[in-house]
Amino acid sequence: MSTIPLTHTGVPAPAGRQRALLIEYSMPLAYAVLFAVLAATVDNFFSVANVVGLMLSVAQIGMVACTMMLCLASRDFDLSVGSTIAFAGVLGAMVLERTGSVTLAVGAGLGAGALIGAGNGVLIAYLRVNALIATLATMLMVRGLAFIASQGQAVGINSDAFIAFGDAQVFGLPLPVLVAGACFLIFGVLLNHTVFGRNTLAIGGNPEAARLAGVKVEKLRVWIFLLQGLVTALAGLILASRITSGQPNAAQGFELDVISACVLGGVSLQGGKARIFGVLIGVLIMGTVENVMNLLNVDSFYQYLVRGSILLAAVLLDQLKARGERRT
């Protein structure tokens, strides 16, 4: 029987592929350009000190954005990350104060984070509570716990071993930055090269179809949130060590920053779509804007305007690209 041409058309594939490639990397390219321009025009921007500072300033957001990406890709939502950061920090600091053991402190923080995440997951996956409300509720409750545990007071940290997390340098890079980098690596692989990642996208794209295809949707959901909680707690502990204290009112509004970074990076709130590279860029854009505005001494009132416009500019660009895609 006659063989079947896969592309039954005159249009040469390469053209399409080139465009696809261009689209795939439009975001990174755009950022590269932005970076170059800033490096050329803004003094002190392109200095080791500043670039490292920039990366440090988005380390926490970056880490959490990795798991938030999975969360959004599976068509969910997590508002509780800010509170979890605060609680994990406070708890860690308190355990450290009592026991003096770094291991216990870190263990407690991470454990709490995992629990909170799993809790969210169970509420959403099994009890079918709307993700927005569920995580809003945990956000409130966990913040409350942080205040109650610390009586609203910052909990001091003296253990140098613990503080080392925050400012130890490895090959000239602060540990937090390296950890964030590791997260991007790990979750990038998880997303693109494992069943876990593919199934995450699947339940985001069409939960019912995924379920009928044998994906254990509920279990997967819980795991995603559990990971989210774990990584967030880690971020919280790192923050605590950076500011040598667990502060109950730390990281308020953090959730919105993280989600914005993801969406900026092309993660769809409708689920089913995610690109780790995009998220990285999204995070970097957010950090760069803050950084440059302060370098340029932009009046703090006008900073709102600038931040807003940059966000718009970024998504509009992404939008043009999407148009291109739709044409393809």
Binding site: L6, H193, L212, V215
Partner: protein, 507 residues
């Protein structure tokens, strides 16, 4: 009588795809013009152009001799063109009446006039012979019922040109008849009707003329449908001869392999190794429900499934799949495709678990190879395996979903719910062959279908359901349309049905 609707060199390109390469034909008022063609031939694209959803890259569209250019669906509607799309386009949360009158709700003093709306709709329903509660939410209806709502929606726009894109693909016998009656009435009223279907009987039963597409080009237009021999149609369409599309072969059946009991009363059945068991029934007969239950698709399912003498744990789809039981669901859009994912992803989603590195990491090369293999075997028309499945034609999407299940290595029981919905004759033939291959491997195959000839054509045994129970099982030898329908239909007004059936069979 001059042609009311004319397509002149209409073309449409998508990246990597020429959907339409300059198509010309005309349809006359007061006739039903059939469109045939393989999956991906360009039929729906043509209708989307007619409906103002796409703009053609080239060519002209003429209504009553005047050229028209539609910028949007509303333009087309305004010009008296309405389309019943292949992919149903309804609003789940709104009521039947609200869906039917979407965009044209009657108002009094600026406020919705629900009374008038319901009256309007139920009157028309009565006239057409559809019995649906105008206040029912679409989400609560079966696909068949949703399809009927879509049809009424289009018809009630009282357009001069009405195009049907595979309207019967999710209808069963009864609605199909209502539809036929409706189409004939519309023709009598002098409308210009376009009718796309892959079911040749229907085309013969309804169409006055027909045009055949292949790969975005017109192959032929036949002014008088009745004169065209069936084989000619098929060879025009698929570009090769097809003697018997079912190509059923007598085989030695093995011992009983699958036993299903206690799902619902009167629903026990069993299948022998290598046997193809067909399930027929009217809409809502309970076939899909039964299959989903045995698959564990719905929670809290009673009953037991025994496979090869061992009882299968009812732990939801994943459990069923690892036991070797797979179900290809009836509702492609809602239960089948991962719309934004690639063809390859859609094929590999389930079976990749056998091909993992260390049980965790994907083997991209192997998955790609598997995808390409099935793209070739099922003649799936796509620029590449990386194409998002939503961009494929309806039938090709269906093929991808089938591939997902045929690719299952540990396959023991293959359950297909309306597997050839929207699939062209050639591809049906491919699928039937694969079904028999699978059966020949000793697997049990269960095919739920509302297309009677299909059920009769491929099954070793036919089970008939009515009102949620299996009301009879017929060996292939005793299974003919009369016998099956007698079981499937409620005892009332049988003769009218049979009359219609015979008319369909002679085709």
């Amino acid at each position: 009588m001059s042609a009311y609707l004319q397509f002149d060199q209409v073309s449409k390109h998508f990246p990597g795809v020429i959907a339409l390469g300059g198509v010309s034909f005309e349809a006359h008022a007061g006739t039903v013009h059939g469109l045939l063609g393989e999956n991906g031939a360009g039929k729906s694209t043509l209708l989307k152009i007619l409906g103002g959803q796409y703009r053609p890259d080239g060519g002209r569209l003429l209504l009553d001799g005047r050229e028209v250019r539609f910028g949007s669906a509303s333009d087309a509607i305004a010009a008296g063109v309405s389309i019943i799309h292949q992919e149903l386009q309804y609003v789940p949360e709104l009521t039947v009446a609200e869906n039917v009158l979407l965009g044209r709700m009657p108002t009094r003093m600026g406020f919705l006039d629900k009374g008038a709306a319901n009256k309007l709709v139920s009157e028309r329903f009565a006239k057409i012979g559809v019995d649906l509660d105008p206040n029912a939410r679409l989400a609560d209806l079966s696909i068949a019922q949703r399809q009927m709502v879509e049809i009424c929606k289009a018809v009630m726009q009282d357009a001069q040109v009405i195009a049907f894109d595979e309207p019967t693909s999710s209808l069963s016998h009864r609605e199909t008849e209502i539809l036929f009656r409706l189409v004939r009435d519309l023709r009598a009223e002098g409308r210009t009707l376009i009718y796309i279907s892959h079911r040749l009987e229907e085309l013969y039963a309804l169409c006055d003329a027909c045009t055949i597409f292949r790969d975005g080009r017109k192959v032929a237009t036949h002014p008088v449908m009745a004169d065209v021999p069936r084989d000619r149609l098929i060879s025009d369409m698929v570009g090769r001869e097809l003697s018997d599309i079912y190509d059923y072969r007598e085989r030695e059946l093995g011992a009983e392999r699958l036993t299903v009991c206690g799902m619902a009363d009167g629903c026990d059945f069993s299948v022998r190794a290598g046997e193809v068991l067909g399930f027929f029934g009217l809409v809502g007969a309970g076939r899909s429900e039964l299959m989903r239950q045995m698959y564990g698709a719905d929670k809290r399912a009673p009953g037991t499934v025994v496979l090869d003498g061992a009882q299968v744990a009812m732990g939801g789809p994943s459990a069923a799949i690892s036991a070797g039981i797979v179900l290809c669901p009836e509702d492609r859009k809602e239960q089948g495709i991962l719309a934004q994912s690639s063809v390859a992803e859609n094929i590999n989603i389930s079976c990749r678990r056998h091909a993992l590195l260390g049980g965790v990491f994907l083997r991209h090369a192997r998955e790609a190879a598997l995808a390409d293999e099935f793209i070739a075997r099922l003649r799936i028309k796509t620029p590449s395996r990386e194409q998002e499945i939503r961009l494929l034609s309806g039938g090709n999407q269906q093929k991808v979903i089938l591939a997902r299940w045929l690719a299952e290595p540990g396959l023991k029981v293959l359950v297909l719910d309306e597997p050839t919905r929207g699939i062209d004759v050639g591809a049906k033939n491919d699928i039937y062959r694969i079904i028999h291959e699978v059966a020949a491997r000793g697997c049990c195959v269960i095919v739920v279908s509302s297309e009677l000839p299909e059920v009769l054509g491929i099954s070793d045994r036919v089970a008939v359901m009515r009102g949620g129970r299996i009301v009879g099982q017929l060996a292939r030898a005793d299974a003919d349309e009369q016998a099956v329908l007698r079981l499937a239909l409620p005892d009332t007004n049988n003769d009218s049905d049979n009359a219609d059936i015979t008319s369909r069979r002679t085709a």
